[in-house]
Symmetry: C2
Subunit: 232 residues, 2 copies
């Protein structure tokens, strides 16, 4: 953050290189910058980033521990190819975890938190109307986690994040079928219902709304997207 010192100097950032590489890869993965199935090699990536391959290897280790990168038999890593089956499993886990988190959060949210959530909600609606899929996904992430953050269980948030790291890249396929008019994506988007339920302090309804949002989004992806193994 380069804070100003009394001498007007900025602080040297001591963030390790492997950490920067890791964060950069997470960003790239979640924003769908890599193609599923793409092979990543430490040396090439290192050259591209201007580092040695050591920090890249560290980042690879962390990412494949979280299943955000898939290990290949020979030790290489690749961007995971998600099958329809695995996608369904991840969706099922999401409904369980995110449904529970929403339910818990609803009971703990107060006025201040609610205002921030409302802001994220309207920004999400706006993004859908504007038609930028990247912006929509970013706002979708911000909105949902602005709720989960209040579930009072840091461990649960961590697990949800790991699942998002796996599905995240694939959510881009939500765009398919909405190329002409992204705003109609709001037909399968229940985030305003979620906000309404939270305002009414109705935890069960909030959970149901989030689950429905996740399930219908996933169903749409399963209809539209091409999965490996399926005939093209």
């Amino acid at each position: 953050m380069a804070d100003r010192t009394q001498f007007g100097l900025s602080a040297i950032d001591s963030v390790p290189l492997h950490e920067k590489v890791y964060l950069e890869l997470v960003r790239a993965l979640m924003s769908g910058q890599f193609t599923p199935g793409q092979k990543l090699t430490s040396r090439k990536l290192a050259k591209e980033l201007g580092t040695s391959d050591m920090p890249v290897r560290s980042a690879f280790m962390r990412l494949q521990a979280l299943r955000a990168l898939s290990p290949m038999p020979n030790g290489s890593v690749e961007v995971p190819v998600i099958s329809a089956d695995r996608f369904s499993q991840l969706t099922a886990v999401r409904t369980i975890l995110e449904g529970s988190a929403t339910e818990l959060a609803t009971k703990r949210i107060n006025g201040n938190n609610l205002r921030a959530i409302r802001r994220h909600s309207s920004e999400l609606t706006l993004a859908a109307r504007e038609g930028d899929i990247d912006d929509y996904l970013r706002k979708n992430y911000a909105f949902k986690f602005s709720i989960y953050r209040h579930c009072g269980n840091e461990q649960m948030i961590f697990l949800i994040e790991t699942v998002w790291m796996q599905v995240g890249p694939f959510l881009r396929n939500l765009a398919m079928g909405f190329e002409d008019d992204l705003s109609s994506i709001l037909d399968i988007d229940y985030h305003e219902e979620v906000v309404a339920a939270i305002e009414a302090q109705d935890a069960a309804r909030a959970r149901a709304a989030i689950v429905r949002d996740i399930d219908e989004g996933a169903a749409h992806i399963l209809r539209q997207a091409r999965f490996p193994g399926a005939r093209g």
Copy 2:
């Protein structure tokens, strides 16, 4: 696995060193071989294992990505010190995930699977009567995962394993209060009720039994064990 070849030679195992180190650390962590708060340095561990520090660093990266090791501000890692708060959060997540997994598994288990589960169950009962806490924990792990394995959702199993890596070391504290007579641990152990519910194909009851088993075990630990920050 050192398969026999046609010349009677055993295959050179090509498992990378960093993988072996990782597996060794997982085993040591889950069996409570390390003290919470203990600092682990790559160089020392490498010397002890007879390798360079590179494979150890790789293993550290993976383990701290999964939160099985805690990163220190200077980049070192330590065996996580679990607070009462974090323990409660992990328990809450466990009831959600393992409850769901049990419910799903109950609907998919057939006669063959059931026989294996029954065997694990009786071995667990036996271990409690024999009074060896290590054996009991090992059998407890084997029994529960023999159920979860059939939930049909590989992703869920992975998440459960992640959570177990964090609580695993701490479950040893279950022994506290049962030093004289481990068999009385069966009073807060509902694994036979779980088996009965599965046999009856009653998914809801199976979930309730697992949740109760987890909750009462955790409650016992919270009563008996010493947590950092608590007066003691």
